[in-house]
Amino acid sequence: MRIEARGVYRKSGKHPILRGVSLAVRGGGAFVVLGPNGAGKTTLLRILALLDKPNAGEVLYDGRPASRFSGAERTALRRRLGFVFQHPLLLNGPVIANMRYALKLRKLPAAEDRIDRELAALGLASKKDLDVRLLSGGEKQRLQLARAMVLEPEVLFADEPTSNLDPVSARTIEDRLRKMAAAGKTVVLTTHNLLQARLFGAQVFFLKAGEIVQQGTAFQVLENPATLDVAQFSSITNVFHGRLVRADGESFLEIGPARIQVASGLDEGPVAAIIRPEDILVSRDPITSSARNHFSGKVTFVDDLGMVVVLQVACGDLTLRATITRTSLREMGIRTGDEIVLTFKASAVLLFPEE
C-alpha cells in the first residue's frame, strides 16, 4: 500500500502540532520518523494510521483521499494497518486472551498455531497464561507487537516501540520489525534514536516542531545533516559556536583563539559547528596526514562506553571529545593527564549558519 500525506496540519487547542507535513510511504521496507520529543511524531503516526484526522491537508491511501472514505471503508482500510502504541494498550486478563481478542474483533478464527508462533517469535511462549498486569514493561510491549502481528498487517506503525525498554526486549522488538520489513511489508516507526534508524537502514523523515526538515536514507541524513538540529541527533558532543572566516582562499572556523580549517561554501559570519568524535584521530605523537587540523592537548576524562572509549581532551581553550576503540586505548596506554594529539580533516567539521 502507498500512503501519502499532503500538507497535513493538526492543532491541539490553538497550538499547532503538525504544520503542513507532506511525505510518501511506498509499499515495502522500513520508514523512520525521527525527531526530538514534542516534534509531533506521535500525532503524525496516528493520522497516517487513521486513528486521528488532520485539521487540514489530506492523507491518501493508494491515491484515494481518506476524507472521502465512508465509515465502513475506514474500517476496511484499518484492517490492513497495525499500530503499536508507545505505552502498551492491553486488555485486562491473560496474555493469550489479548491474542484471541484481536482475532475475535476481526471475526477471524482463533488460529492457535498462529498465536503460538507470534508469541514464540517475541519470546512470550512461556507467559501465555499469565495476567498482563504481571508482565514487565518490555513484555507488555512485546505482547502488544505480537497482538498486532497476528493480524498480519500490510503496514505496521510503531510509536517509539523500544523507548524505555530493557535491551533484550528492545532487541527482540527490533528484530521482529526488521524481519517484517525484510519480508516486503511496510514498517513505519518513530524514534528519537538515530542508531535505531540506521539499524533499519530506513528512509528517514526528520520532524522538527511539526515540520519535516530533512528526508533521505539514514546514511544520507547522518552524513549530510541539513540543520544543526539534525546534526545534533548523530552527535551531541563537540558542538561549537564560532565565526566562519576566509583567508588565502581557505575557510577557517574561529572559536575564541582557536582556529580550525574547514571546507564550507557558507558565507562568512556566525556559525554552529559539529565535529563528530569518531572523525577525530587520536595519537601519542603528531602524525603525517593530509588532514589539516592538528591539536595537542591533555586528556581530562576517559569515559569507558564498553566497545569504545570517549576521551575528553583540553586543547587550550577548546575541549574536544574523540572516540577510540578500547583496543587502541590499551595499545597506546592512554591515561587521564596524558598529552596526546588529535587530528581531523577540514571536511570532518559540519557547519550550519547561525543568526
Binding site: 484499518r78 494498550l89 492491553l90 486488555l91 474483533l105 476481526r106 493480524l151
Partner: protein, 228 residues
C-alpha cells in the same frame, strides 16, 4: 434504651420469617429503584460514554451542566415530576401520579446525572484507550464500543450501584410523587418515615435493617467483581 431493644426484638420477629407486609414493601422498593437505575443507565451510560469520547466545541459546558445537575435537590425533581404527571400536567393523561410509574420516573431523573457523571469520570481515560486499542486492531464501531465497556466494566458496575444506592434511600421526593399508599406505592424509606411518626418503631427498624442488608449485598457483590 429498653424500648429500643424491645423494638429491635419485634423487628427481628417481623423479619424471621418475613411478614407479608415487609416482603411487599421491600419487593416494591427493589423493583422501583431497580427500574429507575436501569432507565437512568439506559440514557446516562451512552451519554456519559459519548461525552468522554466526543471532541466538539461546548463539550466542557455540557460536562459542567452534568456536574451541576448532581446538586439539584431531590425535592425539586419531585416537584417537577409532580407537575408533569399531575392530572393537568403535560403527561397527566397517563395517570401516573401516585403510581410506581411516577416514582420510577422521578428516581430515574435523580440517578441520571449521577450515572452520567460517574460514567464520564470512569471512562475518560479508558474510553480513548479502548477506542485506540480496538481501532488499531481493525474493529468496527460497534465492536470498539464493546471493547470500551469490556475494559471499563467494573467502573460501569460501580456507577450502577452508586445510582441504585442513591435512589433506594431517597424519601421525600418518592413520597411526593408516590404518595406512600399502602399496598401500592409504599416503599422502604417512605414506610420507615410514616411508621416512625406513628410510633411503630419495630416496622421502621425492620425495614432499616433490610436497607442496610441491601447495601451490604450490593457492595459485597461489587468487591467480588473487582477482586476477580
Amino acid at each position: 434504651m429498653g424500648y429500643f431493644l424491645e423494638g429491635l426484638k419485634q423487628a427481628l420477629r417481623l423479619l424471621v420469617p418475613p411478614s407479608g407486609e415487609v416482603l411487599e414493601i421491600v419487593g416494591l422498593s427493589l423493583l422501583v429503584s431497580g427500574a429507575a437505575t436501569a432507565l437512568a443507565a439506559a440514557v446516562g451510560v451512552p451519554f456519559g460514554l459519548w461525552l468522554s469520547l466526543a471532541e466538539f466545541r461546548g463539550r466542557r459546558v455540557l460536562v459542567s451542566l452534568v456536574q451541576t445537575a448532581l446538586s439539584v435537590p431531590a425535592v425539586l425533581i419531585g416537584l417537577v415530576v409532580y407537575i408533569l404527571v399531575s392530572r393537568r400536567g403535560l403527561f397527566g393523561f397517563l395517570g401516573l401520579l401516585f403510581t410506581p410509574g411516577a416514582m420510577i420516573l422521578a428516581q430515574a431523573l435523580l440517578a441520571l446525572p449521577l450515572v452520567t457523571a460517574l460514567t464520564l469520570a470512569a471512562f475518560q481515560g479508558p474510553a480513548r484507550e479502548g477506542r485506540d486499542l480496538a481501532y488499531s486492531l481493525g474493529a468496527s464501531r460497534g465492536r470498539m464500543l464493546g471493547t470500551i465497556l469490556r475494559q471499563g466494566r467494573f467502573a460501569f458496575i460501580a456507577a450502577m450501584i452508586t445510582g441504585f444506592s442513591r435512589v433506594v434511600g431517597e424519601t421525600g421526593m418518592t413520597l411526593m410523587v408516590g404518595g406512600n399508599i399502602k399496598g401500592a406505592t409504599r416503599v422502604m424509606t417512605t414506610a420507615i418515615s410514616l411508621e416512625t411518626m406513628k410510633g411503630n418503631f419495630e416496622i421502621g427498624l425492620a425495614l432499616g435493617i433490610v436497607l442496610l442488608l441491601v447495601a451490604l449485598v450490593v457492595n459485597v457483590f461489587l468487591q467480588m467483581c473487582q477482586g476477580k
